[in-house]
Symmetry: none
Subunit: 224 residues, 2 copies
DNA sequence: GGGCACGTTAAGGCAACGTCAAGGTCGTCC
DNA sequence: GGACGACCTTGACGTTGCCTTAACGTGCCC
């Protein structure tokens, strides 16, 4: 889950942000002044910081400057001040974005996504692991006992479809059209051949597969 | 010098931007419609794109979507529309920032700096090492047994793409887009020729490469 | 016991890969 | 201005590896 640190001392805004962000799947931590914000960032680095410039203990820009001494974490600045000098100052101090109050929550969320996209693009893909092998969807890689498993393009495509839908039953038609194209819906031969390949490469005991399961007459299922 | 591509069809704004940006040390190129913007980005990739949403030939968001099919270049969107839906739409389409007209030039410049700052500064670029050779991304330099390895520009670009994504599988299309441009997605010949060059210069045993690996039918992978 | 669906294996053809070398283009140096 | 060198492009060739296809074995159910 994506961790976001919200630095603000306005209880109402804080509450609204916390609820909204949580509702959109972010993990939210909170700091109400500059000192604790810096501390929190150092101890458990968040993926992004939302920083209000109006803090009780120190100037927001100063927080930013200190932060930038050792952290590259993306920072989105909130401020009540519309003046362009303030914006310039904050952005040059190291802010990645600047948004003025009052703001729409959907715009805030969109800007947040834009900032996070830059950072966490490739690694956002999950790594699915079983007790026998590991599938890294981002790196496009399969490991077994620490060793790389060589898969052919077709083997990989088929495994990918199954792994992206863990525990879910994938029909033969689904698999065939995803891997070979919709025209191949009758070639169930392919499935048997390639499923055998995958099992030989990935299952400890081919005779009794534990992760690549057959649902006779219907399709296949991946069990993590 | 930092190259900025400005995409806008308003002559006055274009002129103002060109003058201001040049005065601040940027190299400015201009496109007046979506088509030529995409072409320009492909041919001579700028460090940043300033994109006006109101273009004569196609919707700005469509330009953005096409661009994001093959380029990661930071994009700052200009728009006359203040509605939060427009902002959300553009940001989610891949924009990195969104600023509404009229805007202060100093704010624009500040946001521009903020976006460009993210572009890795050479001092913090990683040095990637294998047991056979070392790649210094900041210094733009490759060493092997303490000796400098001479790489041609194309060889370097290709190696850079791979090294920046260690262990990750890079598809042939990705590599071709990044190095030769998106129009060359079919020229897999190039990949074979240049991969052979790189291996000859970097791999101890060309016949059994240990760091520049082929994934037959898909792409290549750098293994540190 | 026959039919059906699935698992397994092996062989053939062909596309993809690695390799080499011959133009072609551009800039540089004499 | 011409010769040279560096680099990119393009084509050809042998080899590897993948996809396809078919044949056979096994377990299950009617």
């Amino acid at each position: 889950m994506t961790a976001v640190l919200v630095v603000d001392d306005d209880p109402h805004l804080l509450r609204a942000l916390r609820i909204t962000l949580r509702a959109h799947g972010y993990e939210v931590t909170v700091a109400e002044d500059g000192q604790s914000a810096l501390l929190a960032t150092a101890r458990t680095p968040p993926a992004l910081v939302i920083l209000d410039l109006g803090l009780p203990d120190m100037d927001g820009t100063a927080v930013l400057a200190k932060l930038r001494g050792w952290s590259q974490v993306p920072v989105l600045v909130l401020s009540a001040r519309h003046g362009s000098e303030d914006k310039v100052q904050a952005l040059d101090a190291g802010a990645d974005d600047y948004i003025t109050k009052p703001f729409g929550l959907d715009e805030l969320l969109a800007r947040l996504r834009a900032l996070l996209r830059r950072r966490a693009d490739p690694d956002h893909e999950p790594v699915v692991a079983t007790d026998a092998f590991t599938v890294d969807l981002g790196k496009h890689r399969v490991t077994r006992d620490g060793e790389d498993v060589r898969l052919t393009p077709t083997e990989w495509k088929m495994l990918e479809v199954l792994v992206r839908n863990p525990e879910k039953l994938i029909t033969q038609q689904q698999l065939l059209s995803e891997v070979w194209g919709p025209a191949y819906a009758k070639e169930t031969n392919y499935l048997r051949v390639y499923m055998a390949q995958l099992r030989r490469k990935l299952e400890p005991d081919t005779a009794t597969p534990r992760h690549l399961l057959t649902e006779a007459g219907i399709g296949y299922r991946f069990q993590p």
